[in-house]
Point group: C2
DNA sequence: GTAACCTTGTTACGATGCTTAACGAAACTC
DNA sequence: GAGTTTCGTTAAGCATCGTAACAAGGTTAC
């Protein structure tokens, strides 16, 4: 560690060893994911991974201190996967097309969950005791990042003047208080939004915040049921129709435009 | 088995042995559940249960052929638990109070999930391969029973003439087709409804069916996030307000009354 | 009452998995 | 080329699942 030979000359890149190590770590995670995919569970067996890599199980402990640590790494990766999948889908739509972006974002959320039910389960399933430890935990972090992508669309709508008050009977006092008291509110800010945060707070009234959460919950509910096959009796086409209706109704209730 | 001594006289009750056996099975399941509760996971360890019962692990195989079979039994029990919890809450409200019943039903769903996250996870979490085997699987069965409780309220509303068309932009053709082609539709009928099924089909138009599913999905989404702690940053009161708004908006969109 | 049988639970065993400790080999640094 | 770090191995301890063989009790039949 003290003798890093990469930082001296014009080669700030990682050492050969570091590259090998990174590659091995990546391979471990990849095979672990692949095994999860094949077994259909979120289990991870060191022995199995090692076998598949042509190694012995204890060797893996050079890279992960325990099975739990590998799982944590996989969870963190899942965050990134979901985040980028949703963000990419959103940015693939024209900038002003709020409805298109909302729909694309939601669809990406749904498709990722269906494509990677294990990773989805890692993030949004029952929290495994021990993963909340590091600083507020990656669990809530995932929720915030997913929320952040949604929020980006809402903020964009507000900036374009296309955000109308949501269809709510009024916001409960307790909700406003809860929102304001949540100092973790800052974490909710999406990275894309570097502007003045008070402006954001103004753009997103408590009512809109609530509507946004309700939109997210509704979307998440459909996605969960969809990804785990609880809606399969409907058939693919009907599920697609139900999804579209869910997003449409959610947008309408939240005060977002529902058509280009 | 061939020598059942309980069926002859006025004692059709189970044999002493059968009672003992049933009690042991109940104890195993109870301790298993208790251990799940304490560990915070859906794991079940035979050795641990046996130890806690003052037995040795192989003894449990007299009652459950494998760990999987115990898990399956626990899943089935979870169905009943959730079903009765929701039904009881519903029937505790006055018969004509549709809004009260809907709210009570939804709250029972939420509270059960929060109180028993492990059982909730067993039912609605990622399906474990192997549990879908027995006759369409208990997984979809759970969804249907939960749906059934909701549907009962919708049917009651229809019979009382208090069900108006839902706020939908029209129902997709694919959805109608999917609903009609789902012959498992029959299973969706709640036990409480013994009347003519065609009447039910008339009362619940495809649009209402879709609205009902959307209501359920929205509720399920909130409940999932709530039960797994993803909304804890809001605080209890705000979560309560959000829940109430979710049910209210869902009812309004579905064409159900939102006030007594 | 006694003999046969069934039920239940035990110990013994083998396979698999996680994890640590001790060791050897290769790579990298100087 | 010598010393250090990294990597991966073998050996071993411990826990688990699940099977097999066996012992002890209750139950049934005669």
């Amino acid at each position: 560690m003290s003798t890093e030979s990469g930082t001296e000359a014009g080669t700030p890149g990682p050492t050969r060893r570091e590259r090998n190590r990174a590659a091995t770590i990546a391979e471990i995670k990849e095979i672990g994911l692949q095994r999860m995919h094949e077994s259909g569970t979120t289990d991870v067996r060191f022995a199995e991974i090692a076998r598949e890599m042509g190694m012995t199980a204890p060797g893996l402990y050079r890279y992960f201190a325990s099975r739990e640590e590998l799982l944590t790494a996989l969870i963190v990766d899942a965050f990134d996967d979901l985040g980028t999948a949703v963000a990419d889908a959103r940015e693939a739509q024209p900038e002003g097309d709020l409805w298109g972006r909302l729909l694309a974002t939601s669809a990406a959320y749904r498709d990722w969950a269906r494509r990677e039910p294990q990773q989805f389960s890692l993030i949004f399933g029952m929290p495994v005791p021990g993963y909340r430890a590091p600083d507020e935990g990656p669990t809530t972090e995932a929720a915030k990042r997913a929320m952040g992508q949604l929020q980006t669309t809402f903020i964009e709508a507000a900036r374009l003047g296309k955000l109308v008050p949501p269809l709510l009977d009024g916001v409960d006092e307790a909700f406003v208080k809860g929102i304001n008291e949540a100092h973790k509110f800052d974490h909710l800010m999406p990275d894309a939004w570097d502007g003045d945060r008070t402006e954001v707070a103004e753009a997103l009234t408590p009512a809109t915040m609530q509507a946004m959460l309700m939109f997210w919950a509704a979307l998440h509910g459909f996605v969960t049921l969809h990804a785990y096959g609880h809606l399969e009796w409907l058939g693919e086409a009907a599920q697609e129709a139900l999804f579209r209706s869910t997003v449409e109704q959610g947008a309408r209730c939240a005060g977002l435009p529902t058509a280009p």
